[in-house]
Symmetry: C2
Subunit: 593 residues, 2 copies
């Protein structure tokens, strides 16, 4: 059973991602270490004791749809209410609407735990929080007053309605129609697919944020507006009114996250309400809907990255526990009686250490990204701009590296279990199934790579990425200066990987500057992976260098060394692929017909 890694999370927040420095600089007002510890401990308890025990029933029962109503698995409505009553949904929201105003870093840390307990559970609140962010930033005061308090408390959940059958990665192609009405409201007509938690029985109302196109809107992405469409209309006194003309038409049978309803939503077919058309309110300005969405998209991407971290953590815990218990054969050097636990076999140890290193690396990257988000909000001027860029730069890497790690680590987890890993009762298979959506939704990892290369590398004329690399080089230098033999070849290995990152970055910069877009895009995914690995190496070293006084320094140093001497050599191959791979890729296109 999943046990939230509270200590590891607290350590990473403080000593790798920068929470300690931010606290001592007073960046988060009077937030104290004690409060941080209390929040993390309590969240860890809830994730392990309340959420995790319901993950399997959620997976087995899934959700059912009848008469446009989705029924959640047994025990899930009560679980949600308990979670909500714990105040967890309000953690990082603005106090004016009932939020606790805690740093984003803490929210991300609790999200890791909810996802570790059950990814199908955590994705619901993730969407609500995204909707709160979009509404907070762009909604009118009236809309905020009407909806935010209940959405912040979690009394009502939110959903994000972007995708249509022919508009997934390319939102410019979407067709859902919004018509203006004289009273200032709109009527929406259309179909949205893959809507996570679009319908369920956890809350009385559901607040849909919907991208749609006005009749006179320009084509493409510049003609998209954002609307708020509640499942039930809200009366002037705040009570629920009539049913709005939006409903769930069908739910998907998916590979994993079975307890997360994935809905096809129909807007304005006349099934509910007086006249056809779902009543909606504009959020932000007409035709500026995509910009509103981008506000929350970065945070949503980071939240999905957290899912990768959480699945990787859960899979690693499960595999280590199994490998300690299960005996088979005699490992070299085993002197106990009978068979040795399989954890003693070098090949199994290699798998487990790889899982550990990838998990911890992905965690450090995502938390560093959350830190940058926080810093961009608590600083001003150039400093705020710098941290905003840092968050932007790290977001695609956090999303892609962590979600790929989730899949890879869950797959290794199945392998460590041997035949038992293929049996659903064991739970390793569920993690493997659940993990697989994260590299896809909120922008596929390929889209993240395009974003990284074409939008993030050019930030501050290419200097933002250089600043980050310089910081990482500083870590490599500190490893060298530490003269700790426990690091083995870490300094040299890390230095070499950072040189690979620098060379690949420079090459991509030139390719983009020279208009060789196809070449640059051909290398985008290997580059993204290279960046993630280099960050992993550097952040594992930063962790090992930190003095937390918890007696685990030698252990962290050993994990860092393992990663440096076993995982970092891959960066040379990735750099090579970035720089030398495009020509053969272009030449081989004919193979695909």
């Amino acid at each position: 059973m999943y046990k939230a890694p509270v200590e590891e999370i607290a350590f990473t927040l403080r000593h790798v991602a920068g929470l300690s420095a931010a606290l001592s600089e007073g960046r988060f007002g009077d937030l104290s270490d004690d409060v941080v510890d209390a929040v993390l401990a309590e969240a860890g308890r809830f994730a392990g004791e309340a959420i995790a025990p319901l993950a399997d029933v959620g997976d087995r029962q899934g959700v059912t749809l009848k008469d446009a109503q989705v029924t959640m698995p047994e025990g899930w409505p009560a679980l949600y209410r308990a979670w909500m009553q714990g105040g967890w949904n309000a953690l990082a929201a603005a106090p004016e609407f009932g939020g606790q105003g805690l740093p984003h870093m803490l929210q991300v840390a609790t999200m890791e735990m909810w996802n570790g307990g059950s990814m199908a559970f955590a994705i619901g609140p993730t969407l609500t929080i995204g909707a709160v962010e979009a509404l907070s930033a762009h909604g009118s005061d009236a809309l905020k007053r009407t909806y935010l308090p209940n959405m912040v408390s979690g009394e009502w959940m939110g959903s994000m309605n972007l995708t249509e059958p022919h508009a997934g990665s390319d939102l410019g192609a979407l067709k859902t129609r919004a018509e203006r009405r004289d009273d200032g409201t709109y009527r929406l007509f259309g179909q949205k697919i893959f809507i996570t938690y679009g319908e369920h029985d956890l809350t009385e109302n559901i607040v849909h944020l919907v991208l749609a196109r006005l009749p006179d809107a320009p084509p493409g992405t510049r003609g998209i507006s954002l609307f708020l469409v509640p499942k039930f209309l809200v009366n002037a006194d705040g009570s629920l009114g009539g049913r709005n003309d939006v409903h769930c038409h069908s739910i998907e049978r998916k590979l994993g996250i079975h307890a997360s309803p994935t809905c096809t939503m129909i807007y304005g077919d006349g099934r509910f309400g007086d006249e056809p058309g779902a009543v909606g309110w504009l959020v932000g300005e007409e035709n500026k809907g995509l910009a509103c969405m981008f506000t929350m998209m970065n945070n949503a991407r980071l939240a999905v990255g957290m899912q990768g971290v959480a699945i990787a953590e859960a899979a690693t815990q499960k595999a280590i526990a199994y490998a300690r218990e299960r005996t088979q054969g005699r490992a070299p050097g085993w002197e106990g009686p009978g068979m040795s636990p399989i954890i003693e076999h070098p090949d199994v140890a290699r798998m487990l250490l790889t899982m550990k290193a990838l998990t911890q690396g992905a965690r450090a990257i995502t938390y560093a990204c959350a830190h940058a988000v926080d810093m961009s909000q608590v600083t001003k001027g150039d400093e705020a701009r710098h941290w905003g860029e840092r968050a932007s730069l790290l977001t695609p890497i956090a999303k892609s590296f962590a979600t790929d790690a989730g899949v890879d680590v869950a797959s290794l987890g199945v392998q460590v279990h041997g035949g038992m890993g293929y049996i659903e009762e064991t739970g390793a298979a569920r993690l493997y199934r659940d993990a697989r959506i994260a590299p896809i939704y909120e922008g596929t990892n390929g889209i993240q790579a395009i974003d990284l290369v074409t939008r993030k590398l050019p930030l501050s004329d290419g200097r933002q990425v250089k600043w980050l690399i310089a910081e990482l080089k500083g870590i490599a230098g500190a490893v060298r200066a530490a003269e700790d033999s426990g690091f083995g070849e870490t300094a040299a290995r890390l230095g070499s990987s950072l040189a690979d990152l620098e060379a690949a970055t420079d090459w991509l910069g030139r390719a983009m500057a020279e208009g060789r877009h196809a070449d640059a895009l051909a290398g985008a995914t290997p580059y993204q992976r290279l960046f993630g690995l280099a960050l992993t190496g550097a952040y594992l070293a930063k962790a090992a260098l930190a003095d937390a006084g918890d007696g685990r320094k030698a252990e962290r140093t050993a994990l860092c060394r393992f990663a440096a001497e076993n995982l970092m050599a891959e960066t040379a191959a990735l750099k090579d692929r970035v720089i030398n791979g495009a020509a053969s890729l272009a030449a081989a296109r004919a193979v695909l017909g």
Copy 2:
């Protein structure tokens, strides 16, 4: 829908694996190219038209157990009978028992196609063929006469009963008991788990081959005997007699291959028969059961490798078809109207070409292994020994590289589909689920790596592996000599990967010779992967160099170049991991507690 790649299979058999040379040397008697083509074409038709359409219903319905009887999915019994009546089960078996005596290479090629249609279907016959091989090699004449004709025709299926709850990879720990009876028969008592096709309603009888221990047997692997235990006893006239005391106690709920029943089998609890004890007959000698099993284990491992190839092929076909149809965004250089097919995006093309290259590489390795098996059987003396060793050396690589490729390619296939890939109806998710068992069963890929390093590298005092590497170097030399600019940097890249392979091989040889077993085992999995990648590069080059007159030479050269310039750089990292990874792995053991 899966379409068997008949031309690619025929090409690989002939020009990469060595079938053409073997035929022209008359190694397979009067077998002609026409017969080969006819067999492949007919198998391809059956796989695509009869098996593939039932794969999804098999996955959705799965199998059910009631009163010790497993019911297969709708349409599957009829499918099996049609397959059997096509004579497919008898393809490579000895003519004296009704087999067609065709080369193992052809059987493997047809197996790729059955698995491409449905892995859950093909695994059943795979087990039967394994049982036929074991019985043919070690059974008494009486046993063969009684069982082989019906097992060769497929009228009765077989099952292999090895695993017990505490004896998986380590068979020495098994506890199933066999007692001698005065009439020369035995009575078996015990429990076997994970028994594939241990019970079903496809055939009237099921012939279980069971490993068990005699009361006076020495402990460990030297005290294991092999027994034949039929579900129904067979009368002297060949008709079915009474029910034997063996039954299916439960079936597993698995991640994939839902239509393949995975049974817990109970022997001798008195549920059936006159007195408790399942009636069994010894196969081979007492206490020599493991040696009997090893006879068929290599072939079974190769057969599982084929599953990896088949899943990779099916996933690649599906992804390419989707990427041609699905439009989204505008790829660089796209000049058509509207959105471009996603296959035009460099990142998608990279995924698809990687899938193609891994699939074709895995196919070439497995077919080359099957060729070696055939050659070992049609030659004599030193030549037979050489080919036997070659088959032994290639088997763990074929099994592991191809099954890892199956998982990796199926995962890429899901990714290419985006959100649709996560929806079960699309079918990509099933391949991802099905693929995951293959790196586990028939010896986990970690076990294969141990086998490769500790048993296969020492063959012929380490010269067997050197001969193979020399052969691969010859291919690299031929690429250089070809002076075809289409190869790009292939000659240099391949040469470099083969140098990595050689260096890693030498290092492992020294480590084993010096008794540093833990170090050698720590590098076993990276080494196995390195070997598979080097073989992939070399065999793709061999394919590109061949002159098949089919107008696809340029295409094969381009795929070879893509692999050389995009995938082969990984070998340097793998070599590094083999040679330099063990120390940090040992140092980090404490991290695992």
